[in-house]
């Protein structure tokens, strides 16, 4: 029996050529020249080693671009794997939680994957490009896990983060922008559909997906076509209020949509220094993905056993909190006394006009005991904490449901 370790070493010349990387600790994405030109705040942050905009010119207006116009957000730093081969479907069925055989070519689904103990390694989107080709898009890096999972499957896994540029175009006018940019047939894309479109002699993959809960699309393109794609969209969108945005605005939109972020709203298993911080899908609101009927997949035994023996300690819930003071990282109490959890993301929702939050609670709180929940907010105001106990109510996620997200054909705003 030989150990299967796929050699992925770059050739010697490439190795030498790449060694100057230490001079630039934060990489530029393929869209960087355009973003730099629009960046007025110089408000950058590091996203997976890339220089990414927190806010470009006005974080509130950037948010409203998502909800009222069209917002362009660079998602190139997302980690991307191309998974190909006759066993690709079987392989992904073993790795991820959902039933991949139900994902038709030209479709996308949101999924997650677990380690042996049923602890979530990451969540991400799976694009089925053809019968035997998929693209997996996520926050964290998983090449060793994917390669080791590939033992016994006819499948290849290639990391292509740098080679593929990604853009999210989100907002009510996003469809009109794409149509006006000449992407013929884009009107046929229903939610979670994807299709290839011509661009400058290459292909741009457009899917009707996003991270905002709004009408929106995601576009993937080889890095060398990135700038022309950007220009094509910007030009077409000029009259539709298209704006480049940063993460602060996006984060507010994703909270309204009730979407979670790895290593913000839950700790991924490979990053958990404290073993008890790892979470099962049921504990972070992803239980709906678990398909125990599809046959064995990583973690299925552990998840099934935990469900049977009621060993699921936590639950992730949406909270509506009285008042309008954001409850970021506040402690959640039951009966104002017993500590039962923590808020991982919170803010005022301009769209719902509600004070909302995502929180992780210890069961049964948030599960069967939902009354008498409180959050303790420490609001720092001119060097003094204004402490307050605010009533919290467990509510459905998403906090905001927009019919235009799903409407067919997409609305022409």
């Amino acid at each position: 029996m030989t150990k299967t370790a796929k050699k992925t070493s770059s050739p010697y010349a490439g190795r030498i050529a790449a060694r100057g990387h230490f001079r630039t600790l934060r990489l530029d994405t393929p869209f960087q020249p355009r973003i730099d030109a629009l960046m007025k705040q110089n408000d950058w942050y590091s996203w997976a080693g890339y220089r990414a905009p927190a806010s470009l010119w006005d974080e509130e207006l950037e948010y409203f671009a998502i909800r009222s116009q069209a917002a362009l957000f660079d998602i190139s730093p997302m980690v991307k794997y191309l998974i190909q081969g006759s066993d690709a479907e079987a392989f992904l069925n073993r790795v991820t939680l959902r039933d991949v055989s139900k994902l038709r070519p030209g479709r996308v689904h949101y999924t997650a994957w677990c380690d042996d103990e049923g602890h979530v390694l990451d969540d991400g989107t799976l694009f089925r490009l053809t019968d035997d080709a998929f693209r997996l898009c996520c926050q964290e890096r998983h090449l060793p896990w994917l390669l080791d999972s590939a033992i016994g499957y006819d499948v290849s896994v290639v990391e292509e983060t740098e080679e593929i540029a990604g853009l999210a175009l989100q907002g009510p006018t996003s469809f009109a922008v794409l149509r006006d940019a000449g992407f013929e047939g884009v009107e046929h894309l229903k939610i979670f559909d994807l299709a290839g479109f011509d661009h400058q002699g290459g292909t741009v993959t457009i899917s009707r997906t996003g991270f905002t809960g709004d009408l929106g699309y995601e576009l993937f393109v080889p890095a060398n076509l990135a700038l022309s794609l950007w220009d094509r969209l910007m030009e077409a969108g000029q009259m539709r209020g298209i704006r480049a945005i940063g993460y602060t605005a996006l984060n507010r939109a994703r909270l309204e949509a009730g979407l979670i972020v790895a290593n913000a709203d839950f700790t991924t298993a490979e990053h958990a220094l404290r073993a008890n911080r790892a979470r099962m899908p049921d504990e972070i609101g992803l239980g709906f993905m678990v398909d125990l009927k599809k046959g064995h997949f990583n973690g299925s035994r552990a998840i099934e056993a935990a469900r049977k023996t009621r060993k699921l300690g936590h639950i992730l819930v949406g909270l509506e909190i009285e008042g309008n003071i954001p409850a970021e990282h506040a402690i959640v109490y039951h009966n104002k006394k017993k500590e039962v959890g923590l808020v991982s993301a919170a803010g005022w929702s301009p769209l719902a006009k509600r004070n909302i939050a995502i929180a992780s609670l210890s069961r049964p709180y948030g599960d069967t005991v939902n009354d008498d929940l409180w959050v303790e907010i420490y609001a720092l105001r001119e060097l003094k904490y204004e402490k307050m106990m605010k009533r919290a109510k467990v509510v459905e996620r998403p906090f905001v449901k927009l019919p235009r997200r799903m409407a067919n054909p997409p609305a022409d705003f």
Binding site: K6, K7, G14, F22, L25, P144
Partner: protein
């Protein structure tokens, strides 16, 4: 004749830490040091005009921050400058660098293997998990598993609970980890030889083991548990050389009223009716003390300073069986100018860190095979650095000091004593290895000091020149260190204690043995220990 409350034999860092804590508890403490300078193996010596050499220990990381704070070392002039990088040169003309920045680190690994690049996070998590388990033990006295005293039983329960709290799968990982070789451990994460060599380094430095020896995965932790200003696992230089640490310690000691005598070699520890009464110096002078604390290694202390008849047989047998094995040498070089390494880009930060030339685990292990056969390694492993790239105070302007830690180097050459010719031949293997990667290197050498275990033992008093005062193998860790039954800094002789690296938790410029010994002494004296910070929490 004056009777001191406590006499500390040896002014190494642990002796000084111990003395500081005792003096600050109100005892009248005398430190006696055989050399004309204090510092033991943490010294900066001027061996050629204008140059300061960190001629034994050469890096700072493991020194416990709690001790630095208690003894106010920054106030007494200690400055630690963190490394900016490090690299392993490969024989094909390239190198693998270590960068502090997480993403740069990953991209560097990706030059060799995309898989390895993405394996690093899981590796770091797993090693950190092991460190988090071990680290709290550093500043605690090891329990005696054969004892039924409430304190020992309580401490054992604490360990058992801590272990149990890891949860089943992590318990299993921990059990495995403890007895693995660093090479086997790395095989489970990485595929690239140079990347494995890069991480193996910390598994072997200071030990008489090769990277394929079981137990070297644990040694890795021993080197990872340091912190520089809260940055765990970071390494740095002490400004002015390693002597700056012991200089700050001796100033702190003296500022609190302590007394140091240099040039005072101890010949004997006086024992009367099973209790120590003081010491006799080599010149015959007798110094009385209620307590004697030895910073010398356990063999030197009990086989040379104490008469055999004073010690129980079983203790004596165990001391004789304690394994102190010199495995390393040191070549310290004064350079006329900064050496060039053509493989390294001129602006790479690696030059301001630790440099290595051993690019495979096999080369490291073969170097160890030479040691087992009683020879110095023909293709040695070097841990080399040029602290003057960050600390110009050590040399005249434009000149540099280079420290080369060399492994492996046996305490005896094929069973006989070292000769000067051996020493020169040993140095030549080191110089020629550097010169292979740095053209013109020989021409830059102004002065060189070569230290084999012979020199280390003669000057510093480290038996066999072992830098940890005893091997870090299972039979000599925790309640077995230095010997079973006497792992709590006490000895069979009343009032005689040991506080050097021979004791738990072991070697490295950490200060924990000296501090832990002081805590035990003050406990015996029923003195308060409010001036001693408890170990930092690991939460």
């Amino acid at each position: 004749m004056k009777t001191w409350d406590a006499i500390v034999i040896g002014g190494g860092h642990n002796g000084l830490v111990n003395a500081c804590y005792l003096q600050r508890a109100g005892l009248d403490v005398l430190v006696v040091e055989k050399n004309d300078w204090v510092g033991g193996a943490a010294v900066s010596r001027s061996l050629t005009p204008g140059f300061l050499y960190s001629n034994c220990s050469y890096v700072c990381s493991l020194f416990r921050p709690e001790i630095m704070r208690d003894l106010e070392l920054p106030r007494f002039g200690l400055q630690v400058i963190a490394y900016e990088g490090g690299a392993v040169f490969t024989r094909d003309g390239d190198y693998l660098a270590n960068y502090r920045d997480h993403d740069a680190h990953r991209r560097e690994f990706a030059r060799f293997s995309k898989r390895d690049a993405e394996a690093y996070d899981r590796y770091a998590r797993d090693v950190t998990r092991q460190c988090r388990f071990i680290q709290p033990l550093l500043m605690r006295t090891a329990p005696d598993p054969t004892s039924l005293k409430p304190r020992d039983v309580g401490e054992l329960m604490y360990l058992a609970k801590k272990f149990h709290d890891l949860g089943p799968s992590q318990m299993a990982e921990t059990l495995r980890f403890w007895t693995m070789s660093i090479s086997e451990f790395l095989d489970e994460y990485f595929e690239t030889d140079v990347i494995k060599a890069n991480f193996s380094i910390s598994g072997i430095i200071g030990t008489a083991l090769g990277p394929m020896s079981p137990g070297t995965a644990y040694v890795l932790l021993h080197h990872y548990m340091g912190e520089v200003d809260g940055s765990v696992g970071a390494w740095g230089y002490a400004r002015g050389g390693m002597g700056a640490i012991t200089k700050a310690l001796s100033e702190s000691f003296q500022a609190s009223g302590g007394t140091i005598r240099i040039g005072a070699e101890v010949d004997k520890v006086l024992v009367k009716d099973g209790r120590t009464t003081g010491i006799v110096l080599a010149n015959g002078e007798e110094i009385r003390g209620k307590l004697v604390i030895s910073n010398a290694d356990v063999k030197r202390t009990f086989l040379k300073l104490v008469e055999e008849k004073e010690l129980p047989d079983v203790f004596l047998r165990r001391v004789k069986n304690f394994k102190i094995r010199g495995s390393s040498g040191k070549v310290n070089i004064a350079l006329d100018s900064l050496p060039e390494f053509p493989a390294l880009p001129k602006d790479a930060p690696s030059i301001r860190g630790d440099l290595h030339f051993t690019d495979s685990v096999e080369r490291m292990e073969r170097a160890y095979d030479d040691w087992k056969a009683g020879r110095w390694s023909a293709d040695p492993f070097l841990d080399m650095m040029i602290p003057t790239t960050l600390d110009p105070t050590m040399t005249p302007p434009g000149k540099h000091f280079m420290s080369c830690f060399v492994q492996y180097c046996p305490p005896k050459v094929e069973g006989r004593d070292w000769t000067d010719a051996d020493r020169d031949a040993f140095a030549e293997t080191v110089i020629s290895q550097i010169a292979d990667y740095s053209p013109g290197f020989r021409d830059r050498i102004i002065h060189m000091e070569v230290r084999t275990p012979r020199e280390l033992e003669a000057e510093v008093g480290l038996t066999e020149g072992n830098i940890f005062q005893g091997e870090l193998t299972f039979d000599q860790l925790l309640f077995n260190r230095p010997v079973p039954g006497y792992a709590q800094y006490r000895s069979p002789i009343g009032g005689l204690y040991i506080c050097g690296s021979s004791t738990h938790p072991g070697g490295g410029v950490m200060g924990a043995p000296g501090r832990n010994a002081a805590a035990e002494i003050l406990r015996d004296l029923s003195k308060p220990t409010r001036h001693m910070s408890p170990a930092h929490d690991v939460i």
